[in-house]
Amino acid sequence: MDVLRVDDRLTDDERMVRDTVRAVVAEKILPNVAGWFEAGTFPARELGPELGKLGLLGMHLQGYGCAGMSAVAYGVACRELEAGDSGLRSFVSVQGSLAMTAIHKYGSEEHKREWLPRMAAGEALGCFGLTEPDRGSDPGDMRTHARRDGSDWVLNGAKMWITNGSVADVAVVWARTDEGIRGFLVPAGTPGFTASDIHRKLSLRASVTSELVLDDVRLPGDAVLPGVTGLKGPLGCLSEARYGILWGAVGAGRACYEAAVEYAKTREQFGRPIGSFQLTQEKLAWMEIALGQAGLTALHVGRLKDAGEVTPQQVSFGKLANVRAALDVARQARTILGANGITLEYPVIRHMNNLESVLTYEGTQEIHTLVLGQAITGISAYRG
């Protein structure tokens, strides 16, 4: 069901992107993802080139082998990817919106030529090191630092919760310097640089999450991203990724909703389908409304982004509202499926657990709430 028919407002291109990603997810992801989730693995190396061939990686960037599509087309792709699994969308987000965007926005011409075409093709993978073990919402206070040594840079520190960390060919690492926060391209295999995976996760299990350790990592002078100094560098990339999330959440919520509708129509109790009971119908109607509103928000923010008018506050609005809506939908769907809702035979608990991560990564709901609070009052609650 889709009462508002939001997708009728998509262009032909955007619909073709939707149909293509939906078909690829149905063919290559849905039959396998519960198994990946259970085993705690994600075949990044195999999927990278397949998604690259489609043009999904860095699809909204211009040139250097990227497709150069609209923000809405990118959003629709994120939505369909996340209807498969939040881990899949995270993989694409980190590659395209974080690592590739950092190089595209702030890299030198040589950086772009060296990395972007291979990353667009999925032959080279990237990760994005900002968060640290003790610094999440407050990245400006990061401990990782880089110092000049002759013409070289020497990096020390650690980064935590890094998606694609151990599978990446290149890490975009943000570090404190005497000039302020700078970005560095750290190729895998650089002496002193290690990435080890974080295990025992109960969320985003079909996703590689790593810790990066930098122990006297020596880089040549041209490893630094020349285009930006200061926290606005990484934050500019995060704004891109958050934009993808506000679409992606709609997909995860939709997958749960569809499972719940199907279940409600076929599961019989007291001699009739549970979808005939008012309590179930009330839940389904509420989910329809929540997802319709989230879909409208996503499309609206996307159109603003394509017009070059979107603000960080609008992205915070969408990320906060849509992830919360998707998580609520997932929980409601779980109640409709009863005990079946907690197994990997159905997608609901997988999405629900994933969304617990989506709720706090790329800006916790608390931080996005305070971004809105500041926009409303003019007073920052967390910055001096």
Partner: protein, 259 residues
């Protein structure tokens, strides 16, 4: 090599399909349109042949305005250009009229090879390739699951109930394909962007030199006289196993001549 792929837009097989009660023709507005599934294999084969031998792939579609969606998808997959035959006078054409209209367009575009799916999921007559080859006076190679071209000769594997026939002919020719032939590619995003700039020529009946009396519902040699909904599926038979379940299942299969 000049390859023309005939692409038909059909109602999505996922959505309910119906006939119009006033003239017994398919209600094309009622359902989402998609590329006829076998035609996607035809497009893929044309692209593979072009990649191997060079040349140009032209998409030829006869259908209403909304068939533009399917043309764009074929172009996004990699076809070079398209001809869209669109005219109210064509609505309701049967296979004879359609083959005539397409023949007229092919006379304008020229061709070395015409490729199309062996049948459509809507009318399912499966006759268009044969009619087209006859009208064009060129060989028909039907039900191909493999196509090879060497200079001006073409060889296909034609699937049969017992295996396949090897069929040879010389170009130009008409080939109809089955789903075993390849795995159609998804349109890449670069392909979607590039498709916007590819030429789509729209032709009406008069532009293509088509005699309007020979096409459309009025010009059709066949007529759908009546239609009815398929009867609901009968309730399945449940066999309770009382130690003789295997025998009962074998009996059932034998009664249906499966064993």
């Amino acid at each position: 090599m000049n390859i023309v792929v005939c692409v038909k837009q059909v109602p999505d097989t996922e959505s309910p399909r119906k006939l119009k009660s006033d003239d017994n023709t398919l209600d094309r507005a009622a359902a989402d349109g998609v590329i006829n599934e076998l035609d996607e294999y035809a497009i893929e084969e044309a692209l593979l042949l072009k990649e191997a031998h060079g040349g140009e792939v032209t998409v030829l579609t006869m259908g209403p305005d909304k068939a533009t969606d399917s043309i764009r998808k074929a172009l996004a997959m990699g076809a070079d250009k398209a001809v869209h035959l669109v005219d109210d006078a064509l609505a309701g054409s049967d296979a004879l009229g359609t083959s005539y209209a397409i023949q007229q367009v092919l006379g304008r575009t020229g061709f070395d090879l015409v490729i199309l799916g062996a049948e459509s999921t809507d009318a399912r007559t499966g006759m268009l390739a044969a009619m087209l080859a006859e009208r064009l006076g060129v060989p028909q190679l039907s039900l191909a699951n493999k196509v090879e071209i060497d200079g001006s000769s073409i060889t296909v594997q034609r699937i049969t109930d017992y295996g396949y026939d090897k069929v040879e002919a010389s170009l130009p020719a008409v080939v109809s394909v089955v789903e075993k032939i390849n795995e159609p590619r998804y349109p890449s995003f670069k392909g979607i962007m590039a498709a916007k700039k590819k030429p789509v020529e729209k032709l009406g009946v008069a532009d293509a030199g088509i005699d309007a009396d020979k096409v459309g519902l009025a010009g059709a040699a066949t007529e759908v006289v009546d239609f009815a909904d398929a009867p609901p599926r009968e309730k399945g038979q449940i066999v309770t196993d009382e130690g003789d379940g295997g025998a009962k299942i074998a009996e059932f299969l034998a009664s249906k001549k499966f064993v």
